[in-house]
């Protein structure tokens, strides 16, 4: 009986995101049709471009990797009732820190070098989220504003370090290359899919256990659900908020490290097309569940990896896919209302 109910609710949790995806693609079909193209050709090219062969698949997973890290980062803060809009900035700081460790700590051996670089990136991301956490808990500054402001400071700071301190000679705004000992190894070369992907998968399991199987996770969820009730039952709400943002920032820092150490082999100024912001969508689509986030991230990876193929096969600009991503978010987020509206109608009929 009990497991039946559980299955039922798990099923229900899946339905809204799935329907949202289907709905968004229907909207996409109409748009493609209006452009005078064949939607089936466009979608076939999209799927083929993303999943057609091993290299395509590897490329898709490579594109999905930052969203796995980022989705988990957003999720941890969200479970505690907070919005971490600052994943973008925390990621930048982490990416820079990892690259710095990559080209500086060259006396370390291979394993130690990678671990040190990842560690430093995590700490950097954590520092970047610790500031708004303290501002929230101590000074009552809303974390949405605090993390947002720190995004800009992160852009400028990493931009400064790139151009004035660690710049590689040449016109590109990028740092010198990291040492080979710090590089995350490629899984299916020439694709840039690297061991960072495996780390992100491991973190899916780790965060699941952390959130659902530990006391910290229980307190995290209690604080998120009802801070007043949590406080009365003896949970240190301030501590939970600080530690949640801290963990969130560490994940975001690792997200940046994967880009620097695995994909670019250096830090590139403004490398991100908005990974941190899209991660909010990923976490939402994944229903704030680590495994859901994994699926959602891979789905977003498919859209991004298949986009170029779609716009080559047809005249449809690949920005259609970012439009669809936005529509999916709106559908998922208003899903509760829509399903209520539908069920109300059913009752009245």
């Amino acid at each position: 009986m009990k497991s039946g109910m559980k299955q039922d609710s798990a099923f229900r949790a899946m339905v809204a995101p799935l329907l949202s995806v289907v709905g968004a693609f229907l909207v996409g079909t109409v748009i493609i049709g209006l452009l005078g193209e064949d939607p089936l050709v466009a979608y076939a090219a999209l799927i083929n471009g993303a999943l057609g062969d091993v290299q395509a698949l590897a490329n898709t997973l490579q594109k999905a990797t930052p969203y796995i890290f980022g989705g988990l980062a957003v999720m941890i803060a969200s479970k505690c009732g907070m919005f971490n809009i600052g994943v973008e900035g925390q990621m930048y700081v982490g990416a820079m820190a990892a690259a710095w460790a990559g080209f500086t700590l060259t006396y370390l051996g291979r394993g130690a070098h990678i671990i040190a670089a990842l560690l430093i990136a995590g700490i950097a991301g954590g520092i970047w989220s610790f500031v708004p956490a303290i501002l929230k808990v101590r000074f009552g500054v809303n974390e949405v504003i605090g993390t947002l402001m720190l995004n800009y400071i992160a852009y400028s700071l990493t931009g400064y370090l790139t151009v004035y301190v660690f710049k590689e000679p040449g016109v590109m705004p990028q740092t010198v290359k990291i040492a080979d000992t710090a590089a995350l190894s490629l899984l299916v070369p020439p694709s840039r899919l690297n061991t960072g992907f495996l780390i992100s998968i491991a973190l899916v399991a780790v965060t699941y256990v952390l959130v659902y199987r530990t006391l910290w996770g229980y307190n995290l969820r209690t604080t998120g659900a009802n801070p007043a009730a949590a406080r009365y039952s003896g949970v240190n709400v301030s501590f939970m908020r600080i530690s949640a943002l801290l963990v969130s920032g560490v994940l975001a820092g690792l997200m940046g490290a994967e880009r620097s150490l695995g994909v670019y082999s250096r830090f590139i100024s403004s490398f991100s097309p908005g990974y941190g912001f899209t991660s909010i969508a990923v976490s939402l689509l994944g229903r704030d569940n680590p495994f859901g986030i994994l699926i959602a991230a891979i789905f977003f990876g498919i859209l991004e990896a298949g986009g170029p193929a779609m716009s080559i096969a047809t005249e449809v600009p690949r920005e259609l896919l970012s439009i669809l991503q936005a529509i999916i978010i709106i559908f998922v987020a208003s899903g509760a209302y829509i399903s209520k509206m539908l069920s109300d109608r059913r009752v009245s009929v």
């Binding site: 400071i153 909010i280 209302y337």
Partner: protein, 305 residues
């Protein structure tokens, strides 16, 4: 000294600040009605795009400005419906609108102009010199000589917003909704109607601010041309304590920091450090005056009817 305070510097400060304070006014209308508006960025971008396209098609810059405002209104209505009617989290709705507009404007540029990076050149709103006023010493040269009409209207809007907020029934009710919605409901205020009005007004102003970017200072739309100005407007609004004149002052501070950055380049001060100043300042102000600077109490909360 002249490096830090010249008429040219102040003029460029005002030019940079114009979209920021108009954007901040947009934020005020929304947040004072109790709705968080992270979507300012996307609304501005949509306004900039709509303005450029219509200015291009009609050949009339002012019709373009009108179109920018209409585009903003459409975005505002969308944000209002999604976050008030469908009861979606307002921050999420904002994030979605920003993503949507970033993608949609590039998508439409490709369809309309076959170019994802920028639109063709469109007629722009030309600068004017106000007779008589431009003879006022110093102020005349700063504000009334060779100035964009959008800047002047923007200044007027600060006054208008102040009057609406503090001297009209609408303003009183807006402030009531954002501070204590239950009391407002008890007093018979149509909360949702006013919230729609607030968010739509917010969209209109954001669209107007966007038009300044595409057909005010420039004469083209370029992809993602708002480049964070919507978020900056939010910072300006907060720094200005959710008040029109406060926002104007805050935007001038932001604008000054950015104008200074250009003027300090020969001093070898890395521009990135000057860029950071406004954001640091906002955080510091928020942290140390936290008792006095606080958002309207109920902004972002869903209100049950």
């Amino acid at each position: 000294m002249s490096r830090f305070l010249s008429i040219e510097l102040i003029r460029s400060c005002i030019r940079i600040a114009t979209p920021l304070w108009i954007g901040a006014l947009a934020g005020i209308f929304s947040e004072r009605s109790g709705v968080v508006n992270i979507a300012l960025e996307g609304m501005m971008l949509a306004g900039a795009f709509g303005g450029a396209v219509v200015s291009l098609c009609s050949g009339q810059a002012w019709i373009g400005v009108l179109a920018a405002i209409m585009t903003g209104i459409a975005c505002g209505l969308f944000h209002a419906v999604v976050s008030l009617r469908c009861r979606t989290n307002q921050v999420i709705s904002g994030v979605a609108i920003n993503m949507l507009m970033s993608g949609l404007t590039i998508f439409l540029m490709q369809i309309l102009f076959g170019n994802k990076a920028q639109s063709p050149t469109a007629p722009r709103v030309l600068e004017v010199t106000i007779p008589w006023f431009d003879k006022i010493p110093i102020i005349g040269r700063i504000i009334f000589e060779d100035v964009s009409p959008i800047t002047l209207i923007g200044l007027l809007l600060v006054v208008v917003t102040h009057i609406i907020l503090y001297y009209t029934r609408w303003g009183l009710r807006m402030r009531a909704i954002s501070e204590n919605p239950q009391a407002a409901i008890a007093a018979g205020v149509h909360v949702h109607k006013l919230q729609y009005l607030g968010v739509i007004t917010s969209g209109a102003l954001a669209g107007f601010a966007g038009s300044f970017l595409s057909i005010g200072v420039l004469d083209v739309f370029t992809k993602n041309m708002t480049a964070g100005r919507g978020f900056m407007s939010l910072a300006v609004m907060i720094f200005g304590r959710w008040k029109p004149f406060g926002s104007l002052a805050a935007s001038l501070f932001f604008g000054y920091a950015m104008a200074l950055q250009i003027s300090l380049q020969e001093w070898q001060v890395p521009p990135q450090f000057v860029e950071m100043i406004p954001y640091f300042a906002t955080l510091v102000v928020l942290a140390f005056v936290s008792g006095k600077v606080r958002p309207p109490a109920a902004t972002g909360k869903l209100i049950d009817r």
